[in-house]
Subunit: 180 residues, 2 copies
Amino acid sequence: MAVNARARLLSTAEALFYAYGIHAVGVERILSESGVGRASFYRHFAGKEALVTAVLEGRDARWRAWLSERVAAHGGHPLNIFDALAERFSAPDYRGCVAITTMTEIADRSSPARQMAALHKTRVVELVEQLLRDADVPEPAARAKQFALLMDGAIVTALREGTPDAAWRARGIAESLLAA
Amino acid sequence: MAVNARARLLSTAEALFYAYGIHAVGVERILSESGVGRASFYRHFAGKEALVTAVLEGRDARWRAWLSERVAAHGGHPLNIFDALAERFSAPDYRGCVAITTMTEIADRSSPARQMAALHKTRVVELVEQLLRDADVPEPAARAKQFALLMDGAIVTALREGTPDAAWRARGIAESLLAA
DNA sequence: CCCAGTCGGAACCGATCGGTACCGTTTCGC
DNA sequence: GCGAAACGGTACCGATCGGTTCCGACTGGG
């Protein structure tokens, strides 16, 4: 139990932030659920905000790796992005995107957490653009921004409806974009 | 100063919840900025959650009235929805949609605030559907759901980018949907 | 004119917030 | 096997959380 305190803090915090939001989860709860001592926490992180930023950074990397993998598994076409999203939306405890949550919960645009959330979205757009390029879709940069808007719209809609329907709806819109 | 305590509470709370989120704003701050006494607050509302719900209800009505009015001012076509959104997105202190914020901040789906937020989105879809019907767009119900997804995507994207560009992007997507 | 209703202000409650300091223990490299 | 580093636990800090209670002032209708 005395090793990997940092890793346990990160995974526990990520699960709690995802499920309940950032402001709703106190340091106290993260400590008790991770089994990490109070002092150890402040040895690894400058404070709660640093933990939030680190969680966002880790989630960014793993989320994009997951998306790449699932898109490839579904055939590798950019439209398969929405098949991947549908998998996530089907989870009964789906709670949206932590980056979006961060943007709604933290008003200060210059905050490290906000900037990390913005960076995540930028990187996702780049990933989508590469997928479009690989599929020889014309004007991949403009298309990627459109796809990103559809992805965010689907995520928010799925959070509201609690079903994967929004992924299919977004996929249909994306299809008609590519057909035009 | 001794009149309209309830109305002052609602408008102050709405401004603060919009700007900083729900969990980040304490009752204390709402009281001091509205000039309402602590006791008066609990005479008018059962608690913070009741205030949140009341704010969401009022905002729902005014937001839809505003959208109807702006769409009409822009010509009355369903595509003018995105012209209206662009106006909002241009505000330097634009902070997204309180209903979306509520859904990300409050995990409990059965909470009155969450249900009010969900009701708002349902009513917006109905409004959009009516606009589509008035414009003789085929399959208005399905189109309305697509438009709603584009609207939510645009709102989240605008919150991230801080520019009205997302409204034009969503409008472009909506145009190609209607052209197909 | 007076009284009932509404109001703002303040004291107070237990709980929790993020953060600091100190303690004794466990682990691991040398 | 010894010392340094990392660890979990606890007590404590001022501030704030949402909520209750009481009080004095102001206001408007009969």
